[in-house]
Symmetry: C2
Subunit: 270 residues, 2 copies
């Protein structure tokens, strides 16, 4: 099944726009898990078991696994294999390189790690995205406007009257021949999200920045989701570190269920 | 020793501006190496043995190792450990993510893989680079103008009168408080390299795009190196795949020596 269809099905089946971010950090997971051979995997399995009916996607933040080297990357691969097949897996790797190198990155992400979807950086332009686009059954979210403060250093710069992030949105829309591209837009910039959604009608948007980063959930839904297209809301640290004790998975479920409810009862979505 | 000092010493000791790119591809290395437990490592060791007196740096292209999964990443780690300590190791990973994630990427590259230097993507702005900058003894080359054709999609866009790549050059120069930042500028855009060098006086520049990509070596040296600061010239495929037979290492040495000579006898460097 194509990744985008899988996402639509997961959204419908679980009635959820929640994407749970597995930013699983060896320094923050419960200490008793450190005895396991693959602590991040052990943590992720419990979190997945506790939340798989509440989410449409899991987003694995590659950096947290890479930082542990081989052991972390084994956890990454095994977690993706463990996640129920009906839920979208996003390997959040933000890669961007020239064509022959980008081909290798795409092969790592979609071939070796077997993720359904990924994130990519637009700075190098179309030929750097093309190897990802060629995986027609996969889904690649292009960074458009990121949730961090320094997004303003370059993404907000004006090209004539229009900022760079809108140029990215517009170009990605024009490159979306195979309907396998989306955008990343931070919830921390709701007005800009609204402008982007107008340019990028129909493109799925991955929205991080709710929770620890202070983004506005209701506005993210109001401006990102709805008639313009699908938006999924990512939350990571707020959910997975709800507790550092034995009850970490059930506490994560409670926190995920709260956010799930807030999303589904958002007045603008109804 | 600080990475930048290490680079200066290697340039002086070997009288070389040549950075050899280990874009070691399982599909292109000699077939007889595939019997080895770590074929990419076996390939790299022979290449390094054959060229270490001709280069100032080795650049390992992370994608080629990631594409092989765990085995590839073991080759990557072991190659970096194998390279003589006097030669700079650049893990070309082009990472870019928000602060807490960037910290993990920096930890993977400098901590786990123990590279001296890396490449980073500027799209997310300063706070995404800060965790790299905080490794004061390391060196991070920020993508400014890449060697590919589609660099024109975004990097050439005009902000008022000035293109985005010059804004990147200018900001990176202003962020270089610890003297541990550099730029990546493709040899395929020599005029633009000249403009960038004027803005980025003193910053080391990593110049890919010579060889297979068709960049102009003499102009790269003329405009990138010299009074404005240090530039190192990367070549990968042209050198490491000089032969696909048993003599691959000696043929790579010949090809590297040719380029070494061309660089050192470039009229503009003398």
């Amino acid at each position: 099944m194509r990744a985008l269809d899988k996402l639509y099905h997961a959204v419908e089946k679980n009635d959820s726009l929640l994407c749970l971010g597995l930013d699983s950090d060896i320094q923050r997971i419960p200490k008793f898990l450190l005895r396991q051979r693959y602590p991040l995997l052990a943590f992720n399995k419990k979190i997945v078991d506790a939340t798989a009916d509440l989410v449409c996607a899991y987003k694995l933040n590659s950096a947290f696994y890479e930082a542990l080297g081989i052991s972390g990357l084994e956890s990454l691969r095994k977690t993706i294999a463990y996640i129920p097949k009906k839920i979208l897996t996003i390997l959040d790797a933000k890669r961007g390189d020239i064509g022959n190198t980008a081909r290798k990155y795409a092969s790592a992400i979609f071939g070796y790690f077997r993720a359904d979807a990924t994130t990519v950086n637009p700075y190098l332009g179309f030929d750097s995205l093309q190897p990802f686009v060629e995986y027609k059954d996969k889904l690649s979210f292009v960074l458009c406007l990121t949730s961090n403060k320094s997004a303003q250093d370059f993404q907000f710069l004006k090209l004539g009257k229009s900022p760079l992030y809108l140029e990215v949105a517009s170009k990605v829309k024009s490159w979306n021949k195979h309907k396998n591209l989306g955008l990343v837009v931070g919830a921390t910039y709701p007005q800009q999200l609204r402008d982007i959604r107008k340019v990028a009608v129909g493109l799925p948007i991955l929205i991080p920045g709710v929770g620890a980063q202070g983004g506005d959930l209701e506005k993210a839904i109001q401006y990102g989701a709805g008639k313009g297209g699908l938006a999924i809301i990512n939350s990571s640290r707020e959910i997975i570190y709800a507790s550092g004790e034995k009850d970490f998975a059930s506490q994560a479920r409670l926190r995920a269920a709260e956010l799930y409810q807030r999303i589904n009862f958002s007045p603008k979505l109804r």
